[in-house]
């Protein structure tokens, strides 16, 4: 094998560079953010689905809500325990979770997702002073 030295050196440099970000941050993972529940959300105890479901699947739930409201005009969501909700991101979700900065944004920033809901949907539906 010709140029063995160069190839191996090159490979070592490549692997070192490629894995540098992982090695550099090893053991220093950013802690998962603490989301803050408003007193109203705490008092309600249970969201429209279980907390686990909402944490993991709220985007799917919102997608279904959007489809049902916009396409089919169905706006009422009745939970398994019989509570009824108007399917509205601004008027229902943000009614309890009125602290978007400490609730939505913290997790979204941590997960590096940038949902553009708020370009149209109003993020402060009660018009409270921030």
């Amino acid at each position: 094998m010709q140029n063995k030295g160069k190839i191996i050196t090159g490979l070592v440099i490549f692997i070192a560079l490629f894995t540098f970000p992982f090695i550099y941050r090893m053991g220093k993972a950013a802690p998962a953010p603490d989301v803050v529940l408003t007193p109203k959300a705490l008092a309600a105890k249970q969201c429209v689905r279980s907390t686990d479901y909402m944490t993991a699947e709220h985007m799917q739930l919102l997608d279904i809500w959007r489809e049902k409201v916009v396409r089919e005009g169905q706006r009422l969501y009745v939970t398994t325990d019989g509570r009824a909700f108007n399917m509205s991101l601004s008027n229902t979700c943000l009614d309890c979770h009125s602290n978007k900065a400490e609730f939505c944004d913290r997790c979204h920033d941590y997960a590096s997702v940038k949902p553009y809901c708020w370009e149209c949907h109003i993020d402060n539906p009660k018009g409270e002073k921030q």
């Binding site: 916009v70 005009g73 601004s90």
Partner: protein
């Protein structure tokens, strides 16, 4: 053991059937468990087979008479007010007779029609050309006849604007938010790059209210189900001579004018 091709295939088939039943049985078992949340219409929602509107133009004498309807619509729907008419957004507005009914205008028309402004809006056509033109199905016709937009899916190609013969659609060339004077916090705004138009107050019908322009019109506008012979629109249509905009195009507009 010597096995023939036939017996091998038999065993393979049985095995495949056996593997396939597992997931089915498991999903049946899971389905019988917790009840799922239900999604339904509001009990008070207004429903119809074909929503339509009748505008009694005899009741309007100047642009000022039309302004309350335009103002209420644009304020509850967060329609921005842009001064540059190239960027203008309108859901309901006024047009001179010749622009609203070009094929009916002629040189010797009654003097009054030359000055009278006509209230125009999306016609919620029976056969809407904008729906055919939309490449993403962002614009669609509901079973109750309302031609609605799904802003989530609009890519801003403006084919619908080219297709609409009534100019009922506006494009957001800029972010509309800075140009909304009083934001209705219960209703979303739009974003830069989407088309918008009148939605026949679909969000109000869903909670049992008639469209806002009809509500403030003091009876000059009538709204109801065209498919119901007992409805108020049918009554008004029976009693009066009405015209529709550009009827010859075959779009089947749902807004009628008493002139």
């Amino acid at each position: 053991m010597k096995s023939s091709r036939r017996s091998f295939l038999k065993i393979a088939g049985l095995a495949a059937a056996g593997l396939g039943t597992g997931p089915v049985l498991r999903s049946w078992a899971a389905g019988g468990g917790a009840p799922a949340p239900k999604i339904m219409n509001n009990a008070e929602a207004l429903e119809a087979k074909r929503w339509a509107m009748v505008i009694d133009t005899r009741r309007f004498h100047s642009a000022d008479d039309l302004q309350p309807m335009i103002d209420v619509c644009h304020s509850i729907h967060n329609v921005p007010h842009l001064k540059d008419h190239h960027h203008e957004i309108k859901w309901i507005w006024s047009e001179p007779f010749g622009n609203a009914f070009p094929e009916r205008e002629h040189e010797f028309m009654t003097e009054k029609l030359h000055h009278l402004p006509f209230l125009v809006l999306c016609n919620h056509c029976e056969n809407p050309p904008c729906v055919r033109a939309c490449p993403t199905k962002a614009t669609f016709k509901r079973p109750d006849g309302i031609v609605l937009m799904d802003f989530h899916r609009c890519i801003g190609c403006r084919f619908c604007m080219a297709a609409c013969p009534y100019g009922a659609r506006s494009f957001n060339f800029r972010d509309p938010r800075p140009f909304i004077t009083h934001t209705n916090l219960a209703f979303p705004t739009r974003t830069k790059g989407v088309v918008e138009k009148c939605n026949f107050c679909a969000e109000r019908l869903a909670v049992g209210q008639i469209p806002a322009c009809v509500e403030v019109s003091d009876g000059a506008l009538t709204f109801g189900d065209l498919d119901d012979p007992a409805s108020q629109v049918r009554h008004v249509l029976k009693e009066n001579f009405t015209i529709r905009r550009k009827q010859g195009l075959g779009t089947g507009p749902g807004v009628y004018y008493i002139v």
